[in-house]
Amino acid sequence: MSNKYLPHIHVLAEDDANRQIANGFMLAPNLNNRAVKVLPLPGGWKKTVEEFTKEYASQMRQLPERRMVLLIDFDNDENRFNYVESHIPEDLKARVFVLGVLSEPENLRTDIKKTFEEIGEALAKDCSDNKNELWGHHLLKHNKRELDRMATSVKPFLFK
């Protein structure tokens, strides 16, 4: 049984690469397994935003302890974050986070020679250890503002 009235987070990963990164993140030994769920793949960043606004936003309003991460590719598009953020309803903004690789996960994988799962594991370790090693990579460092927000809103229940 999962208690949806306790703090938890749902991850909407845009594609298979991001899903595998999320899998790796969830292998962290001290992760609160029951507090995270990765939802079926929308298939593309635009569909991710659409599904969130059409389907998941209303559910979030019923469940004040639910947070959501939209895991998207930024495809080197400077305006994408602002575009996505502008589609998040004002009353939910504090509980929705937009993360992703600056270009796409395949580039990060090639650059650091890790599998997607290993990338996810390394990112989780950074979070758990309060470090910024992989998160500081030039393809990931733009996530800092969102990570700072998550540190207060998500981290306290995400790790045991």
Binding site: M1, D16, N23, L31, N33
Partner: protein
């Protein structure tokens, strides 16, 4: 950690090699009849031998292996099993080849060998076994009935004897395709060797808690996550040597006791999962093969359950699972998912890592469409 499984001429497995070196967890997917469960059957033959069932006709009585199992009846070629496993930083290799000479009704051993780091511990050709003893590389030879596998009958010298280390590891491997209705929670003894159908689950719980009492905390911790209203579980004496499990729930000052046997099928699987995690922690590292761990679970639980297993085995031990369930499949990634495929019942199983197979569409859509072929 198991690194390699090789099987030849056993049912649909011909010249079949599964390389899982460095994978703490891996998934096997493929259509019905592709050969996923046959891999479990091959491993179970070796597991049962290490547990002491080493007469060919006794293995046949358990429906594990028989003369019918030569691939397409090809009994002029031996059935061959090989496993390579890293234990205490040493590579162990065990080889067993079985044959059926003309006019024989029972399989017999054609070849058998156990090597550690490339050095033979013992080797065997037909009835003759050669023991390679100690650093002076002395040899001793003796004869064994051709229908008996030698592994369980060779005397171990000590707990540090490689033979003991390998046999204990193999005997404690967990191969599961549980049938919850057979998991009653009753026991008439203790074991650390669960059966494939889970029917001796009560004995396993008794064995685990008797030898490792602290394992209760680990089991309890997991169960509280999935069933927040559980209070505790008891394994009470109900006769001279018999025990029965009771599960107690509590909420809002109300209590309820339920016999383990009366839990739902999915709840029994939660207990099974909890005991596996505890076993791996307390007497592991263990190898576990679970055929469809998502069976009997609600969709909301499948992902949590599979991820718990993967996380638990990530630093110690190894788990191999099969699945047809979308949620379970999505909890694995391209580098630890193997696709199995057969062109027809007349052709053998093929296997490839998902990362080596071009899948244009979403994997689940491709699986639903039956579009993945090797």
């Amino acid at each position: 950690m198991l690194q390699r499984i090789y099987v030849n001429n056993f049912r649909c497995l011909e010249n079949f090699e599964l390389l899982i070196k460095g994978m703490p967890s891996a998934l096997l997917i493929g259509k019905n009849g592709a050969g996923k469960s046959t891999i479990a059957s091959a491993l179970e033959v070796l597991q049962k031998i290490s547990r002491g069932i080493n007469r060919m006709r006794d293995l046949e009585k358990l429906n594990l292996i028989s003369p019918k199992d030569f691939a397409r009846g090809r009994s002029d070629v031996p059935i061959r099993f090989e496993i390579e496993v890293l234990l205490q930083d040493q590579l162990y290799k065990y080889v067993l080849a079985l044959e059926l000479p003309e006019k024989f009704r029972e399989l017999r051993v054609f070849e058998e060998q156990l090597l550690v780091a490339g050095e033979p511990i013992y080797s065997r050709k037909e009835a003759q076994v050669t023991l390679h003893i100690g650093s002076q590389n002395r040899e001793a030879q003796f004869m064994v009935d051709w229908h008996l596998v030698a592994l369980p009958v060779i005397q171990e010298q000590s707990e540090s004897d490689p033979l003991h280390i390998f046999k204990t590891w193999l005997a404690r491997t967990i191969i599961l395709a549980p049938i919850p209705s057979l998991m009653t929670g009753d026991s008439n003894g203790e074991t650390l060797e669960p059966k494939r159908d889970g029917s001796n689950f009560g004995e396993w719980v008794s064995g685990l808690l008797s030898r490792y009492p602290a394992a209760y905390t680990q089991v309890d911790k997991y169960l509280r996550e999935v069933m927040p209203d559980i209070q505790d579980f008891l394994n009470e004496l109900i006769g001279k040597d018999s025990k029965s499990m009771m599960v107690r729930f509590a909420e809002n000052n109300a209590n309820l006791s339920i016999e383990f046997n009366d839990l739902s099928d999915g709840e029994k699987c939660f207990f099974l999962g909890a005991v596996i995690l505890a076993a791996n922690k307390f007497y592991g590292p263990l190898f576990c093969f679970w055929d469809e761990p998502d069976n009997y679970l609600s969709l909301s639980e499948v992902g949590h359950f599979v991820m718990s297993l993967r996380r638990s085995f990530n630093n110690s031990g190894q788990i191999l699972v099969t699945s047809h369930n979308e949620e379970a499949i999505r909890k694995f990634s391209n580098e630890n998912t193997f696709i199995l495929d057969r062109k027809s019942h007349l052709e053998p199983t093929l296997v490839r890592l998902l990362s080596d197979v071009p899948v244009r569409d979403d994997l689940i859509n491709a699986l639903i469409g039956g579009d993945i072929e090797l």
